[in-house]
Symmetry: C2
Subunit: 220 residues, 2 copies
DNA sequence: TATCTCAGTTTTGTATACAAAAGTTAAAGG
DNA sequence: CCTTTAACTTTTGTATACAAAACTGAGATA
């Protein structure tokens, strides 16, 4: 399976690596809200200079994960720990727009490509292979983001997805959930291939919303 | 050269100023899609070093406005010129979520604050003062973004809003449009103050959507 | 006691130097 | 004539040095 828009494999510059490390550390709570990300200290820890560190921090700042007070320092944002529910609200909204755009722009070749992905997902779901199914699940969503043909939308979705670091996968591996998700993905595909923007947006929104509430309810 | 003077502002750092300058230049089309943002060349033009320039570029990269190929350069993204329609789709989706969150979190003091803003907008609308009305319009939307109490959402909305640089204001100064917008804002306020998340989200979405199509239809 | 001042410390902001990768061109070899 | 290769050029990536703003705290003063 080749990923059409894989940007990360070859570009492993220091600034990218440290960006990912810092982001993960913030999201998993290793750096707690309010924590001072001391430039020199971090540079020493990572054994790098401040230049790539600064570049990574500007990206985190742009995402709202850290707040920088000039000449004082960068601090982990107080409301990084927005609930999974809120993050997924935004995700469902933006991915919904992606589906809408994809429905208006998709061509026949791309419909085949999307269908191929769906078929593969169906196969893995019937084989009860949760790992592969979830992998195809992620790719299906990513493909829609690509088919929106709007780099801004794509970037936003990737940024939001990187917040997912929890034990989500175990929950979603529930067989009934996999079947439900498959049916919803089939609906999404149908709407996009029919070039129905409203239908596509709604299908994605309700899918993400339902799947999120499922996770929340299962957790407790 | 012509940019150098503006950097004298002491309150903001060079990296922030140059970020805004570059962003505006990209949005208004001064730097066209595919244009190579040469680090050293730009640094010379702005009469600054490459460090703050790099930091600004990482923010633009994070936003998807430029694409950086390692050791090659940063280039204005090919699809920066997404139509005003697409930008506003995303905006309506994210501001819709902001309204939803605001409806679930708002307290009585904040309802008064929002009402105050609305009343001021009513006054200016009745006085037929388009400039002030639009100013309050912007503030009303911003206040909702703040009341969502989610820094991520706030940041996204601010980032999207910065794309607005067109002759939008003239179109929106149409008296009928101002009246229509006022009624819609009243509905939005009502929904949020009633703590109705669905109603609030729908009200914002349809308001932004209608107002956008009005602009598009008026333009031609 | 409370507040103001000012020097000392901390921390980031910016500039510059150098290293390394990618791109380019032209000559050599088939 | 086309392809390969290797030197050369261009451009970014990273490290380091220094400047400047913000914070801190002790001592003076009202």
């Amino acid at each position: 399976m080749e990923f059409a828009m894989d940007i990360s494999s070859k570009t492993r510059s220091v600034r990218d690596v440290v960006y990912e490390k810092l982001k993960e550390a913030i999201i998993v709570g290793e750096y707690k809200p309010g924590f001072h990300l001391n430039e020199r200290q971090l540079a020493e820890q990572f054994m790098i200079s401040t230049t790539p560190l600064k570049e990574a921090m500007r990206r985190l700042e742009q995402e709202g994960l850290i707040i920088t007070r000039p000449r004082v320092g960068s601090f982990v944002s107080d409301d990084v720990m927005v609930s999974i529910e809120e993050i997924n609200l935004i995700r469902s909204a933006v991915e919904g727009i992606a589906a809408r755009l994809a429905a208006t722009k998709i061509n026949d070749d791309e419909i085949s490509q999307l269908e191929e992905t769906l078929k593969e997902m169906e196969r893995y779901t019937k084989e009860r292979n949760p790992e592969k199914t979830l992998e195809m699940n992620a790719y299906f969503h990513k493909l829609i983001a690509i088919l929106a043909k709007n780099n801004y939308v794509y970037k936003q979705i990737e940024a939001i997805r990187s917040f997912d670091l929890g034990p989500k996968n175990k929950i979603l591996s529930n067989p009934e959930e996999l079947d439900r998700a498959l049916r919803e993905h089939q609906l999404i595909f149908k709407m996009i291939s029919m070039r129905d923007p409203d239908g596509a947006e709604n299908a994605v929104r309700s899918h993400i919303h339902r799947s999120t509430t499922f996770i929340l309810n299962t957790k407790k």
